[in-house]
């Protein structure tokens, strides 16, 4: 099952890199959203997959007596999901505001902060 998921994760990464290489901000953002999901799936898979064995410890024992599903990656993924969701929300608003103010969503044309035709620094006085 890890193999299958690994292929899927690879596909996610490929799609997200392809989208992030675009110059349109909206596509980049979609790429970032997919990247976040690819990472989450990867952490989940990295914790090894065990189906249908909840990590419960029987009474009077200190450790589970059978191999159980790993609960830690789920905690990690939960943290990462919350973080990537909030960042995605922020970036969506930011790019929308940038589109409103700058009138473009093409990264190549966003040159207000670094103008192309900036004169060279003064050579002497």
């Amino acid at each position: 099952m890890e193999t299958g998921l690994s292929v899927l994760i690879g596909l996610f990464f490929a799609v997200s890199v392809y989208l992030m290489l675009s110059k349109q901000l909206v596509r980049m953002l979609l790429g970032i959203a997919i990247l976040g999901n690819a990472v989450n799936l990867m952490i989940f898979t990295a914790g090894r997959l065990t189906r249908e064995v909840p990590p419960l410890i029987p009474l009077e024992l200190y450790t589970p007596n059978v191999a159980t599903a790993n609960p830690l990656p789920q905690a990690l993924v939960l943290t990462a999901i919350v973080i990537s969701f909030s960042f995605f929300a922020f970036l969506l608003v930011l790019t929308f505001r940038a589109y409103q103010e700058l009138g473009t969503d093409d990264a190549n044309e966003m040159r207000i902060a670094e103008p192309i035709d900036e004169p060279a620094p003064p050579q002497g006085y």
């Binding site: 952490i43 990690l76 973080i83 960042f87 790019t95 940038a98 902060a113 620094p121």
Partner: protein, 527 residues
């Protein structure tokens, strides 16, 4: 399980000894800043109370970090595990000399920025949360310096990143939105790379505790090859992005000149240095084998970073953008320390980080004063500032000498250490690049001084003309400007003249990561 008769021996899973009172200091920096930030958030609309609340908590933060430093110097590395779970299961906070030194210097800089901000930040920007964001940024920075868990380090990175987004867009004008888009997207990709590497590391070793990882990696027979090489490369790319090292540095000059000058000052002081800190932590403490393996690559990146930074600074005519490139030069010098990797080199890198945190913040603050006095950030429009304030001209010259690494100021000693370490390792090119970049930095900052301070007036003013200032600079006399700038400049001079104790501190920090016995023992007790 109320009423259950099963008696449980919790000492098998948890630490039962109470945490000694002094060790609680370990969580104080993060807790204080979260508390202070929340209080500021609640009093958001009371723009008069905001700076007071913010400054009180920033003073407390400095005090807590200072107490922590004293305790670490006294007792060695200290560890506290969240929820008292036995390591490596609980999230550990581990304070060693490296982390605490940077946390202390970082908090001093944040306090200075808080004071400076009480003058330069307008009521509107206060209402939109300058002080809450500043405090939450410090939560992230302190947490990153003090945590002993690599996933937790990622979380603190995100805390400081989201706060920095807030600070960066404060004011909301076109320039800022343009800069923020680039800063935002590239930094988010950087932290995602960090998370990918951490996920793979967890898949390989099944643990996230740094001390545990250091032991497990050291016990690995295959050394630095195989999957570990991939992980190390990903970490390198991720932290290089955070630190603005050469091929992935473009977000820094695109964004650091756009926000309010005090925000730029905090960013230039702290953000990239957290990236360098993470690189030292991961490559020297966790993956020393991979550091050896990648040393040549790191050296090439360091040289390229120093050179792009220095050339970039020479090509700019806007003071803040010159400074942005000078931040990058410093990053290159610190990476040179990581590339060499001996105790001397890492000490030099840590000392350089301390110096760079102080001097870059001070330089941006000075740029703010230049704008107040001369009405512009552009070299063509500035001039005659020496006539307005000779003292300020001297302060800027001191900071300029320090950032170029000239004696007798704070930049001199770390550069000597780095060059010395590079020679010891036979990396003559690296040593040469450190010296050449220092020379080019002197040219770039010297030009700023000559144009803005030394010549009589803006471009086109004939030699010898005396310019009458009709409007005296209103904020020049404000203590909120002079105190932070004065304190940071005094620190720069003091570290230049009296470097011994800082040398001892950084050497202790460096030996703590190069030979991590103390670090591991602190987490795992007597094992």
């Amino acid at each position: 399980m109320a009423g259950s008769s099963v008696s449980v021996d919790i000492s098998q899973a948890m630490i039962t000894a109470p945490v000694s009172a002094g060790d609680w200091l370990l969580v104080a920096p993060s807790l204080l800043t979260i508390l202070g930030g929340s209080l500021c958030l609640m009093t958001r609309k009371n723009t008069k109370a905001q700076p007071k609340v913010g400054l009180i908590f920033l003073v407390l933060l400095v005090a807590a970090n200072f107490g922590l430093l004293v305790r670490v110097l006294d007792k060695g590395v200290i560890t506290m595990v969240m929820g008292n779970w036995l390591p490596p299961f609980g999230i550990a906070f581990t304070a060693d000399a490296l982390g605490v030194t940077l946390a202390l210097v970082g908090s001093i800089v944040a306090l200075c920025a808080g004071i400076y901000g009480s003058v330069t930040i307008q009521a509107t920007e206060r209402r939109y949360g300058f002080y809450p964001f500043l405090l939450f940024l410090m939560t992230g920075v302190s947490g990153a310096f003090l945590t002993g868990d690599i996933f937790n380090l990622y979380v603190w990175f995100e805390v400081l990143l989201i706060s920095s987004y807030g600070l960066l867009v404060l004011g909301n004008d076109r320039l800022q939105l343009d800069g923020s888009v680039k800063y935002g997207i590239l930094n988010l990709i950087g932290t995602n790379l960090f998370l990918i590497a951490t996920g793979l590391l967890y898949g390989m070793f099944g643990t996230l505790n740094m001390a545990d990882l250091a032991m497990k990696v050291a016990a690995l027979e295959s050394g630095a090859s195989g999957p570990l090489a991939t992980i190390a490369a990903l970490y390198f790319l991720a932290f290089a992005m955070k630190a603005a090292a050469f091929p992935v540095n473009f977000w820094l000059p695109a964004s650091y000149h756009t926000p309010n000058i005090v925000v730029s000052a905090v960013f230039a002081g702290l953000l990239t240095k957290v990236g360098v800190y993470a690189m030292i932590r991961v490559f020297v403490l966790l993956l020393p084998g991979s550091r050896d393996y990648m040393a040549d690559l790191i050296a090439v990146v360091a040289i390229a970073t120093m050179m792009t930074g220095a050339m970039g600074a020479l090509a700019q005519s806007e003071v803040r953008r010159v400074l942005g490139y000078l931040v990058i030069v410093g990053i290159g010098a610190m990476l040179a320390g990581v590339a060499v990797g001996s105790i001397l080199a890492i000490s030099g890198a840590i000392f350089y980080a301390v110096h760079s945190i102080i001097v870059m913040t001070a330089l941006y603050m000075a740029a703010g004063v230049m704008n107040m006095l001369g009405g512009s950030y552009k070299l063509r429009e500035l001039g005659g500032l020496y006539g307005i304030s000779p003292v300020f001209a001297a302060v800027f010259l001191v900071l300029g000498f320090a950032v170029s690494g000239l004696p007798p100021f704070s930049g001199f000693w770390p550069k000597i250490m780095l060059v010395d370490a590079a020679f010891d390792d036979g990396r003559y090119l690296l040593a040469g690049a450190i010296l050449v970049s220092g020379f080019l930095t002197t040219l770039a900052i010297g030009r700023v001084w000559i144009f803005a301070f030394w010549r009589g007036g803006p471009e086109g003013t004939a030699d010898g003309t005396v310019i009458e200032r009709v409007v005296p600079a209103p904020q020049l006399t404000s203590a909120g400007i002079w105190i932070p700038l004065g304190v940071l400049t005094a620190l720069v001079i003091y570290l230049g003249l009296q470097p011994e104790w800082m040398l001892q501190l950084v050497t202790r920090g460096a030996s703590g990561v190069v030979e991590p016995f103390g670090y591991v023992r602190s987490v795992f007790g007597g094992l």
